[in-house]
C-alpha cells in the first residue's frame, strides 16, 4: 500500500466544506434521543456533560489533525500502515473499516426504527433499508464530491429546523435547571461518556484529509464544525430539561422528536411527521461518508478499485440489517457500539499520535525514510 496519496485535482474539495462535513457527520441519529441517557446520569446538570463532551471532541479533533499534519498527504490507513508495519497496521486498518461499517449499521437501524415507531409501523424494514441503501449507492457512485455536496445541503437545508425549537419554549420552566452542580463530578463525567454515540462522526477527517485542498486551514474548519455541533446539542439539552420534567424525560426515548410534537401550524398540525421524514436528509451524509470511509479502507488495503468494493459492502450491510432486532436489543447494540467508539475515537487517537511522533523522531535520527518525507 502506498502511504501517501495523490488525489486528482478534480477530486479535491475546498477545506471550508469540511465544516459542513464534520457537523453533518456528528448530527445523525444520536441527536434524536440523546437527552435521556445523559439525564439518567447527570440529572439537571446534563448540560454540563454536553459541554464536557464538546471539549473532549475538540481536543481529540486537534490531536487527529496534528497526527495527519505530520504526513504530507496521507490518511489513517496509510499512517497506521507506516507506523505499525504491514501486519499490525493492516489489522488496525481492518478494525477501523469494521468500525465504519458498524457505525453505518447503527445509523441505518436506528433511523428506520424511528420511522417504524412513529410513522409506518407496518411497512417491513427491508423495504426501508433497500430504499435508503439505494440512495447511498447513488451518492457513492458520484464519488466524494457528490457526497460532500450532500452533506453541505443536509446542513444548510436543515438549519430552519432549529427555529422550531421556539415552540417548546412556551412550555419551558427554567426552574428545572436548578440547582446547578447538584450532580457529583463522576456523574457528570459519566453523562459526558454517554454522549459518545452522539458526538462521534468527526473521525471522518482521518480518511477525508488527503482530499482537502488547503491543508493549513483544516484545523480551523474542523473546530468550527465541532463547535457548532456542541452549541446545537447544548441548546437542545437545555430546552429539553426545561420542557420535560425529570421522570418524563427519562421515559421519552426520542426527546428531540418529542419536542417537535408540539409544533403546530395552521397548515401542518403534526409537525413531527415532517421532521422525521426530513431527518433522512440528516442521515444520508452519515451513511454515505461511513460507507465511503470503509470502502476507501478496503480498497487501500487490498488494492482494489473503490467501485468494485462499495456495492459488495452495501449488499453485506443490507444482509446484516435484515436481522431483526427489537428495541431492547437495539439499545444494547447502541451501548456496545458506544463503548467501542469511546475507545477507538476518544482514546486511540492519542496513542496513534504518540506513535507517530516517536516514529518521526526515530527516523529523523537515522536521516529519514522514504515513507516519511515531510519534516515539520
Amino acid at each position: 500500500m502506498k502511504v501517501l496519496i495523490e488525489p486528482k485535482p478534480q477530486n479535491m474539495i475546498n477545506t471550508i466544506l469540511l465544516m459542513f462535513v464534520i457537523h453533518s457527520m456528528q448530527v445523525g441519529v444520536g441527536i434524536q434521543g440523546f437527552q435521556r441517557i445523559i439525564y439518567m446520569e447527570a440529572k439537571q446538570d446534563a448540560w454540563i456533560s454536553v459541554i464536557l463532551s464538546g471539549i473532549a471532541a475538540a481536543l481529540v479533533g486537534f490531536i487527529m489533525v496534528k497526527t495527519l499534519h505530520s504526513y504530507k498527504n496521507s490518511d489513517l490507513y496509510g499512517i497506521q500502515y507506516d507506523v505499525f508495519g504491514k501486519w499490525l497496521g493492516n489489522l488496525l486498518n481492518i478494525l477501523f473499516v469494521c468500525y465504519f461499517l458498524a457505525a453505518f449499521h447503527m445509523v441505518a437501524r436506528n433511523y428506520i426504527e424511528v420511522i417504524q415507531a412513529w410513522i409506518f409501523p407496518e411497512v417491513p424494514s427491508w423495504l426501508f433499508f433497500f430504499s435508503l441503501l439505494s440512495l447511498v449507492y447513488y451518492g457513492l457512485n458520484g464519488g466524494l464530491r457528490t457526497i460532500v455536496g450532500v452533506s453541505f445541503f443536509s446542513v444548510v437545508l436543515a438549519l430552519w429546523l432549529i427555529l422550531l425549537m421556539a415552540f417548546p419554549f412556551q412550555f419551558a420552566n427554567w426552574d428545572y435547571l436548578l440547582p446547578v452542580f447538584e450532580a457529583s463530578i463522576p456523574e457528570i463525567l459519566m453523562g459526558a461518556k454517554q454522549m459518545t454515540f452522539t458526538v462521534v462522526g468527526f473521525e471522518i477527517i482521518y480518511v477525508l484529509y488527503p482530499f482537502l485542498k488547503e491543508k493549513d486551514q483544516v484545523h480551523k474548519y474542523m473546530q468550527f464544525g465541532l463547535g457548532f455541533t456542541t452549541i446545537l446539542y447544548l441548546a437542545i439539552m437545555v430546552i429539553s430539561i426545561a420542557y420535560f420534567s425529570g421522570d418524563q424525560l427519562e421515559r421519552t426515548i426520542w426527546g428531540t422528536l418529542s419536542l417537535f410534537k408540539i409544533v403546530r401550524f395552521p397548515f401542518i398540525e403534526r409537525f413531527e411527521y415532517v421532521a422525521i421524514s426530513f431527518w433522512m436528509l440528516l442521515i444520508l451524509p452519515n451513511l454515505m461518508l461511513y460507507l465511503w470511509a470503509a470502502t476507501r479502507g478496503l480498497s487501500r488495503i487490498f488494492n482494489k478499485k473503490e467501485q468494485k468494493v462499495s456495492w459488495k459492502l452495501l449488499v453485506f450491510l443490507f444482509l446484516t440489517l435484515l436481522y431483526p432486532l427489537n428495541r431492547i436489543q437495539i439499545n444494547m447494540l447502541d451501548d456496545y457500539f458506544a463503548k467501542g467508539a469511546l475507545f477507538l475515537i476518544f482514546g486511540y487517537p492519542f496513542l496513534l499520535f504518540i506513535a507517530v511522533v516517536m516514529k518521526k523522531k526515530f527516523f529523523s535520527k537515522k536521516g529519514g525514510s522514504a515513507n516519511v518525507p515531510k519534516n515539520k
Binding site: E122, V123, D175, Y176, P179, G246, I262
Partner: protein
Amino acid sequence: MSPKINKLFLVLLVVLLSGCADSRTLERMGLITTRGYDLTEDKQILVTMVLLQIDPEAKEQTIALSATADTSKGARSKADLKSPKKLQSGQLRVALFSEEVVRAGLINLTDTLSRDPAISDLIYLGVVEGSVHELLTQKTEGISDTSQFIYKELEQNIKGEKIPSSTMQEVMHDFYAPGVDPVMPTLKGGNGEITITGMALIKEDKMVGKINTQEAFYLKLINDRFEAGSIELSIDKSEFDIPDSEETPEKLTVVIDTITSYGDIDLINKNNLQFELKVKLKTRLLEINQAYDLKSPAKLEKLETKLCEKITSDLEALIEKARQTGADPFGFGEIYRKSVRGSNLTSAKWHKMYPESKVNVKVDLEILRTGVVE
C-alpha cells in the same frame, strides 16, 4: 452500471416504493375528535368516541361510538366493528374522563394516549362530572357538534387565561415531576349547556378534590405570569363610608381586570418548610356596584388595601383547601427541590412533607386605571 440503467433504476424505485405504505384516504377514515372514558360497574372501561363525518349529505356532523373493554385500545378495536370507516386518532382534540375514572387513577389511560405517536401532545384533558358517555351523546339544541364545542370552550377559556392550561404535555409533565401535581378542568353537561365548573385537584394520578372557577383563577395567579383575566371580588363595606340604604347591596363588589400579574414562591426556611408567596398584580377597575368616590387617591388606596386583604385571605384559603386534600398544584415541591441541594425529592416523599408546609402570602395590588371616566 451505465448512467442510463442507473436512471431507469431510480425511476423504477419511485414507482415501486410509492405503493408500499398504507394509503389513508380521507373519505375512508373515521377521524376521532373526542374520546371519553367511563368506568362500568364491573370495572371495565367504557370508551366513547366522537367521529367527525366527512360527508356533506350526512344529517349529523358527528357520530358517537362506544365500546366496553378492559383497556382503551381494546375498546377502540371493538368500536372498529361498529364503524364503517377506519378509526384514526390523529385528529384527537380532547380526552375526557369521568370523575369516577380519575378518582380511581388516571395514569394508565393517559399513558396510552402519550405512547401513541399519532396523538398530539397538545390535546386537552378534562374531567366530567357524571357520565362522559351521556355528555358526548346528548343532543343539545344549538350545539351541532358537541366535541368541537367542548374543544373550543376549553381552548377559549385557556387562551383567555380564565383557567390553567391542561394539555396532555402539561398533565404528564406535572405527573412525572416530583414536586407538583396536575390539574384538569371539570366540565358539566345538562340544561342544554356544557359548563366548566372548576378544576379537579389531583394527587399523583388520583383526583382528590375540586376547586371552583374563582379558585382556579387564583391558582393561575400563583403559577403563571399572565396578562388578561378578570375577577369579581366582594368585600365588606362597613369600613368604607358608603351611605347605607335599603337599595344598595350588602357587600361592595368590584370587578378588576389584571393587566399583568406575577407570582413568585420562595423557600424561606427549609427545615420548617416555610414558603413565601408573593403575588404582584397590576389591574384596572372594570365595575363597582356602589357609588364610591374613585377620584380621591386616599379612597382608592383604601380600596386597594381592602382588595389586597381579600385576595390574600382567598389565596390562603385556597392553599389550605388544597393542602387538606394532599394535592400540590402550586408546585411548592418544585421550589423545595430547586432550593435544597441534594434533596432527591420524589413524589411520594413530597406528599409526605407537604401537609407540614406553611405558606406566607403577600399580595401587592395596584389599580392603574379606573376606565375612561372617573
